[in-house]
Symmetry: C2
Subunit: 340 residues, 2 copies
DNA sequence: AACGTTTTTGGAAACGTTTACAGTCATATT
DNA sequence: AATATGACTGTAAACGTTTCCAAAAACGTT
């Protein structure tokens, strides 16, 4: 392994000067820079990151915790983030957590074991943050939830305005004459600080505002955000309520399951029941019928979160909380009842 | 930050002894161990990983390179691997690469920058390995391709027997009376050392053996492994050849695109054209109709690769090459022409 | 009691960097 | 000519561990 010492010897300069060249400092003569850079090039020298980090007491890692496995939506954000971070020369260390694992607990553990310089939470349960985030001291960012109300100074958050967006989703149904709407997805307990709950509340709020009756016991079926669970929940919903003409699935993955469940019961979409999803994964363009959905801006989510985190890692800044735009995508899964 | 020095001071022992306790060595008295462990506990001390690694000249990272973005199949393997590795206390640093990026080149770069103790390639192009893998010296494993023929002693590989499995896929069609079969997916160039190419060859071989005519120019449409590309390729195929009764899509994602393309042209599946995919992602159970496919054993792939890599990291062993079982899944997308 | 063994311990060097500090040298200023 | 200034460079001390080596302690054997 070639070290800075070898470069010093080979170039005839001291290790101090070599170090200065490596770190692009100004106080080095042009001549020294040239010579040393040549030697570095020739020797194919790479500074040992451990030594560097030891001295600087940081690691060059950013830890990413993805809440939920097989979550196409979050994985899409992860990919975008990784790609974007790479342009800064930053790498991510990824952990996928199932939905029951406490991500804050896990993050704390990762911090002590690996000492990352920043943490990105892709999804998460606000409850866990409220309870235990004070133990985490590195700059962090939570994506897909808002931590504005928690008041941690090292935790930023970026999300779609879920409540508003969910409202737009049901609004889309309402405008097309649907007055009996079912909602599928979200945590069983209606737990506070959970994505599904916020979307549910936004939807219910809009229903109320529009004067549409909604009986949560009969018209809501909770389920995890997976195709299978969407399928099962749809089956339950059909048993509970036969009058529904429109369904809002709280995630596209759930919607795919719903689609299949309705089909298996020979319920036509959109002729018999209309369906709108949430997230805007690629897949909605290829379902039969194409799925209407609310598309979150994953690029913006990824970019904003990374920009903010990097800024806060390098300069001590306060956390910020932001939202990104969304769009309702039409699809073919919604019937306009007004046209009858 | 509490350091080993603090623990030494607080416990009344020397740094050396504390270090020995931390590393669970035998040559420490029971008494010392107890006392020191108590102090460590009380102080909530975590050894600085950078210092540790500096001394041991390794990092505790395993680098994973995922070839291809938005690849549900590989991401599923990634999740399984990460989860399994975590049980060993190992973490992964992930990079997603688009299909054009040279993963071996990238790995070499990552090695010099971050010095991982092992590398996992999820997908990859054999050509790149043949050309440049000799530069990589850490234990590595390639999943989804076989590197048996390359003869690198530090590169294991695990894969499904793609050729055989693809053969089974077309066989499934052939047995149901299909004699005019189209194949969609795989690299444009029919490039050597590419997943699609191997599957294509396996399929063509089986067609030949069964005495089914196959004109690669007319009955094969190459495309990238994405839904959109599957859609477009299906459109091309329909223009080129009107007589096809069965299609083998070289990945499930492609199949989903094909499904949608056929539907848009009012071609019924399986009545007009039958379709079988490859990979066995969750999704195939929720398409309309449910998609027949060849299911690769992702659990086995993940587990074998990790087991082997960990073994080779800790003991110097030669690389091995293995395959995992596969299964043809029936679905609803295939018509039995014999029944007419 | 004197000696060997074995077990346990402390001291100190090493790992490869960064950086504060002090030094050298040329040039400009008086 | 003496001095101040500034640009550059080298030296050495850190950073928090691990581990080699030798010292000390404990024990058993003669």
């Amino acid at each position: 392994m070639t070290t800075i010492k070898d470069i010093a010897r080979l170039s005839g300069y001291s290790i101090g000067t070599v170090s200065r060249v490596i770190n692009h400092r100004q106080d080095v003569s042009e001549e020294a820079r040239q010579i040393i850079e040549k030697v570095i090039e020739d020797e194919n020298f790479q500074p040992n990151s451990n030594a560097k980090m030891l001295k600087q007491t940081i690691t060059s890692n950013i830890a990413v915790l993805v809440k939920g496995t097989q979550n196409v939506f979050l994985e899409g954000i992860l990919e975008r983030m990784q790609e974007y971070l790479r342009t800064f020369g930053e790498y991510v260390s990824v952990s996928f957590l199932d939905e029951f694992t406490n991500e804050v607990e896990t993050a704390a553990q990762i911090c002590s074991e690996r000492n990352p310089k920043g943490i990105i939470f892709l999804g998460g349960n606000l409850h866990f943050f409220e309870e235990g985030f004070s133990r985490i001291t590195v700059p962090s960012v939570l994506v897909t939830e808002t931590a504005a109300g928690l008041g941690f100074d090292n935790l930023s958050s970026f999300t779609t305005d879920d409540s508003e967006a969910a409202g737009m989703a049901v609004d889309y149904l309402i405008r097309r004459g649907h007055t009996h709407i079912g909602i599928i997805g979200g945590s069983a307990s209606g737990e506070k600080g959970e994505v599904g709950t916020r979307r549910l509340q936004g939807a219910v709020k809009r229903l109320k505002e529009s004067g549409i009756p909604f009986d949560q016991d009969k018209q809501f079926c909770s389920c995890r955000f997976a195709m299978k669970d969407g399928y099962d929940a749809a089956v339950r919903m059909l048993k509970k309520d036969q009058e529904i003409t429109g369904i809002f699935a709280l995630s596209d993955t759930v919607a795919v399951g719903v689609l299949r469940a309705l089909r298996d019961r020979d319920i036509r979409i959109p002729e018999d029941i209309s369906l709108i999803g949430y997230d805007g994964i690629e897949h909605v363009k290829y379902t039969i019928p194409r799925l209407a959905t609310v598309k979150q801006d994953r690029d913006a989510l990824a970019k904003k979160a990374v920009d903010d985190l990097l800024l806060r890692i390098n300069y001590s800044r306060s956390a910020v909380h932001g939202t990104v735009p969304f769009r309702v995508l039409a699809g073919e899964s919604i019937a306009d009842l007004n046209k009858h």
